[in-house]
Symmetry: C2
Subunit: 681 residues, 2 copies
């Protein structure tokens, strides 16, 4: 053995001696090197391509001679002439070791490829999808040993790939015999590998070597929108992304109105189930068409959603979620068939719904937990998924707590007098000069500020139509910093603030941002009622986070992750001035973008992540804000901007908030006087 040639694999560094004539693929398998193969070493699939390196390798202590591998054989030559190969590559299953050799396994030849995530702080995804292709050679039927074709196919998969315990759908069984014969007893199988919860399953069998990608979907089913990523399950690549409005919107804008709809209308829940499933099928058509594939090529799908969407999607009446104790019909992850959910994908497609954490903390929060992995964090991280409901996670590798808090839709621009959804023309960024109290802003669709040259051209097409969620947060925070609004949330009068943009509007003041009425456009103000809405929303968010901090027995967190599409647009400084989030160094407040969608994609591409998140969710300690007395206390304090009692030392070191109070006894008296008069009328 000592004289056998040495084979060194990079980048793994794994090495071993093998008899001359050993194929590189065999050596890789014996050493546990991650080298792919679909055809099992038959020179058909080319997934095992490797790059031999020649010359001196002092680091490895070897010199690789030009004849370290066998010369190209007929199989390799045929593959190269038919399909082409990158210069310097060999087929690992055909090239055999002759003398000491260094073999590089390029990333695309690794089974468990890394799918690189864009964010610096995010872990890469290790590709290990639930659906895999296997090429097998099946024993022909033998009258002396009359097993069925399926049983011989199963034997082949067990003997050639060590895949055992395989189930098969009836439709796949019905089609099996002609496929085996057409392929001359050589077939490619798509196998759903299963998990602890369900058994592996032969999904489709193609004659011969099937050389086409298989696809999977990661779907984020939101109350407002449904967004999907179509992924190539062999490369992990997102090949198309698409979204539609959730067709349930016609039954109610927010979750509770949909729950009410089902309570008030017999068959209402079933209607909404049909609507969301039909919407899914529309979305799948759309995304398949964008990618130029057939929907039946989609073999696996992962769904994340909040509990009400989860139940309506499953066809479970969400009645119980509308009232204490907010009992879920089921909280565990679900493994279902696409067919039983009326989803038109591959006929044997399987779907996976992540587990729900609690009646208000759904599979979307579980997906955020999978993406942001607070349970693996060394430092204490607060993860906030900001939407109509905020889902909040606080934890580190020792413990994770979760709750949800009813922020309402104010952060999305709803219930704001000039509020609108994020769309071209909406004010998304704002600054107010603390001296002149004059605002400047930017609208979605342009990088030019309102006081800069060229702004008139920008708004010539879009107009200035309103204020979106991030815009209202920045405006309120800027108003607080500029002394236009006080800590308790009152807008001062022109006299109090020294700005004639503060105008009387009923019994309170509004701050004028933009008057487009001369051009037939809107007059955009922030009213004191808008301030109240933002106060309610941010107080709900903060108190949820603070409650978790109480339970964790801490009074600060090491870092904060803002998740959700909206989170990506929030300025950390403004969020902190507002007191939405606890005090923290600004560079420790980051955005995770659509972390729920990312979590769905992880669960799609890595089947072990499914077991992992199921365990994580079981271990998460859930806090129900509605029954925690301290939640109300925190809420009252957090209604102040930023907070009536929390000190915010880090924020105060970078921002000085003016000490103003616009609650003058005169105004209060005036208002009391009015109420008295009304009663007398």
């Amino acid at each position: 053995m000592q004289n056998d040639p040495l084979v060194i694999f990079t980048p793994s560094g794994k090495r071993g001696r093998f008899p001359a004539g050993t194929p590189i693929l065999t050596a890789a398998r014996q050493l546990g090197v991650d080298l792919d193969s679909v055809c099992g070493g038959r020179g058909i699939c080319s997934k095992c391509q490797i790059t031999p390196s020649y010359g001196e390798f002092p680091k490895h202590g070897v010199t690789v001679a030009a004849d370290a591998l066998t010369a190209w054989n007929a199989v390799e030559e045929r593959y190269r002439s038919k399909r082409g190969m990158i210069e310097g590559r060999r087929l690992g299953c055909q090239a055999q070791v002759q003398r000491d050799i260094v073999i590089d396994v390029p990333p695309e030849s690794q089974v468990h490829k890394q799918v690189v995530r864009k964010r610096a702080e995010a872990r890469d995804i290790v590709l290990d999808p639930s659906v895999k292709l296997y090429y097998v050679e099946v024993a022909e039927p033998d009258m002396h040993d009359p097993t069925g074709d399926l049983e011989r196919l199963r034997n082949a998969l067990r003997e050639q790939w060590d895949v055992t315990d395989l189930q098969i759908d009836l439709a796949t069984l019905q089609a099996l015999q002609p496929v085996l014969r057409k392929g001359g007893w050589k077939v490619t199988c798509a196998v759903h590998l299963g998990s602890r919860a369900y058994r592996p399953r032969i999904m489709q069998v193609w004659p011969g070597f099937h050389d086409a990608p298989i696809y999977g979907l990661a779907v984020d089913l939101g109350s407002t929108t449904i967004a999907a990523h179509l992924c190539n399950m062999q490369t992990g690549e997102v090949v198309a992304s698409s979204g539609i409005m959730n067709p349930q919107i016609r039954y109610g804008e927010d979750l509770m109105s949909r729950v009410s709809y089902s309570m008030m209308n017999a068959g209402g829940a079933a209607e909404m189930t049909a609507a969301v499933r039909a919407g899914m099928n529309t979305l799948f058509d759309q995304i398949a068409s964008e990618a130029g594939i057939d929907k039946t090529e989609i073999m696996d799908a992962v769904f994340v959603c909040n509990p009400v969407m989860h139940h309506l999607f499953l066809g479970v009446d969400p009645f119980e979620l509308g009232q204490a104790p907010f009992a879920l019909a089921t909280s565990d992850a679900l493994n279902l068939t696409a067919a039983e959910m009326d989803l038109k994908l591959h006929p044997s497609a399987r779907i996976y719904l992540l587990p729900c954490i609690a009646g208000h903390v759904g599979a979307d929060a579980a997906a955020v937990a999978l993406s942001e992995a607070p349970d693996k964090s060394e430092d204490l991280v607060l993860v906030v998924d900001v939407g109509t409901n905020a889902e909040i996670l606080l934890g580190n590798k020792d413990k994770v707590l979760a709750c949800s808090s009813p922020t309402g839709p104010a952060f999305e621009g709803a219930q704001i007098s000039s509020g609108q959804r994020a769309a071209p023309g909406a004010i998304e960024r704002a600054e107010i000069d603390p001296v002149t109290k004059e605002p400047r802003f930017r609208v979605i669709g342009s990088e030019i500020w309102s006081d800069e040259e060229g702004f008139a051209e920008v708004i010539a097409t879009t107009g200035i139509t309103g204020i979106c969620g991030s815009g209202i947060i920045e405006l309120v925070a800027e108003m607080r910093m500029a002394g236009i609004v006080d800590g308790p949330g009152l807008i001062g009068s022109a006299e109090q603030t020294g700005s004639d943009r503060c105008i009387l509007d009923g019994r309170t003041y509004s701050y004028l941002i933009w008057d487009g009425t001369a051009d037939g456009g809107p007059r955009i103000t922030v009213t004191n009622r808008d301030i109240r809405e933002i106060q309610m929303a941010k107080a709900a968010l903060y108190s949820g986070a603070r409650l978790l901090m109480d339970k964790f027995e801490v009074d600060h967190v090491d870092r904060i992750v803002l998740a959700g599409a909206f989170g990506a647009h929030i300025s950390p400084k403004h969020a902190m001035v507002l007191g939405m989030i606890p005090d923290a160094p600004l560079d420790k407040v980051t955005s995770a973008g659509n972390a729920a969608g990312t979590g769905a994609r992880i669960a799609l591409l890595n089947r072990k992540a499914r077991d992992e998140i199921e365990q994580t969710v079981r271990a998460i300690h859930k806090i129900e804000t509605a029954i925690e007395p301290r939640f109300q206390e925190h809420f009252v304090n957090a209604s102040n901007i930023p907070n009536a009692i929390e000190p915010y030392p880090i924020l105060n070191s970078i921002v000085t908030l003016p000490t103003v109070n616009f609650n003058q006894s005169g105004r209060e008296t005036q208002s009391r006087e009015r109420r008295r008069r009304r009663r007398e009328e």
Copy 2:
């Protein structure tokens, strides 16, 4: 402990000491005594009824005092007043031990009741069905520990009944929340317990205690008829039996003509699949209506059938079964849902198909193996299921061999000149006087022989319409014993036999049984062509059996079991005179009736029998007659009546077969002469 009261259970004889105050059900469970309970000891289901015995028990060494059990408590009193109880019975969960006691567990209180089979030699069936009812009390939802309702139901089933790893159908989940609340968190679950191949599953949840039987079906899907038994899954009792013609008959009388139909007609296989499934649903309607139940109360069904029926039922084109190597699409047992097979039973009903043994030896033969258990036999048993195809099993506890042999439909009266299916008016029994050569016979529907008083009245209603399968076997055997037909199978002339019932019929002779032409009825004869058909059929059957004996290296068997509805009507002596079966003592030839149907019922009522038959089938050694050279040799020898070379010593000790030979050179010359003349014309 030594002073604790002694509890002795009968009939098991299990005994143990328990602290005073221990409920009898608890004592039974701790001792492993088979005492049923659905409600888990809550005094609701009454399944745990026991009979305490009082007085002296010298055999057990105890004296039981009148106060050995606690007095009737309120729960027991309420149950007795509402539902009534047999005198002397107590509820095992309520009655508590106080002093030494002898407790009898009546059969109906045992979980694993014995279902008694009618045949003396058959084992009883131990009741252990796949579907069981469990009453549970489920924890209410708790906001501090927000698991789903399903998860708490699963916990209850695990903690209260030790049933784990439960799946649920989407429809059952959708209905779960209202049921739990309606039952006040007390529900009864029907659970399909699963097997090695598939996981246990909650099929239905009822509010409160569900006090109604659940049903299962054992179905024997034959080429000609479909027969079903509806069983109460808690008592094992057959509550209704019903049958219909297989609607596939319009596509072909026998299997091969159906295979041909699918080959000649695009979509033909799918048509036949739809036909048989529609037929099943008709049969289920019929049997449910007979039993006065709803089809949706049927939660489990077991099917047995030959391979072609198996494939057509599954929706697999039987093309491959029509040609060597007769490859089955799948040979293993199948666990499917009724829904995917288009069967309208309980929405979550599961179905089970027994495994096939080989391309010609189906799940029906597996069911016969389950019923007759050759693999558990101490002596060497030959099991023959006689039908259009004969399935043959030979074995003992060491080894079992199987083959099938193409007997054709002659044994069912088909292809016989006066043949007919077994129906009133058909000749089913016959004797021929060896001296006078006169026949006497009986027709189906009467016990009176044709030469007895009253026969004219018998046939006045039915007429004499033809000869059924058992009739033709007895007639041919009787003709051989009376010297009317010789060993090679030629019918003698009137001169040769001395009977003017032997009449020239073309170039051979026929034997006249009955001439009804005077009354407008048929003239019933056995023609030489009929003899040939029977010779072919019995030679095929015998050669299959003989081939298995070769493989077993034996030249006799210890006993013979004739299975199949037809087998029940065959006279062992006549079968042996004909040489259908090997030589054996007549009292060792028994009929098992519809053993395939019985096997289906065993698999329905005892889930472990499913694992058992799957293992048995895997171990059975299959012989393909078509490729065994000795099969032809045996066939040629077996064409003689009874056999050209096999000695049949046991038969010869009770029957003397006349040595006749009607193949006279003159006749042969005459016939050659005719052929020569025809060629010249």
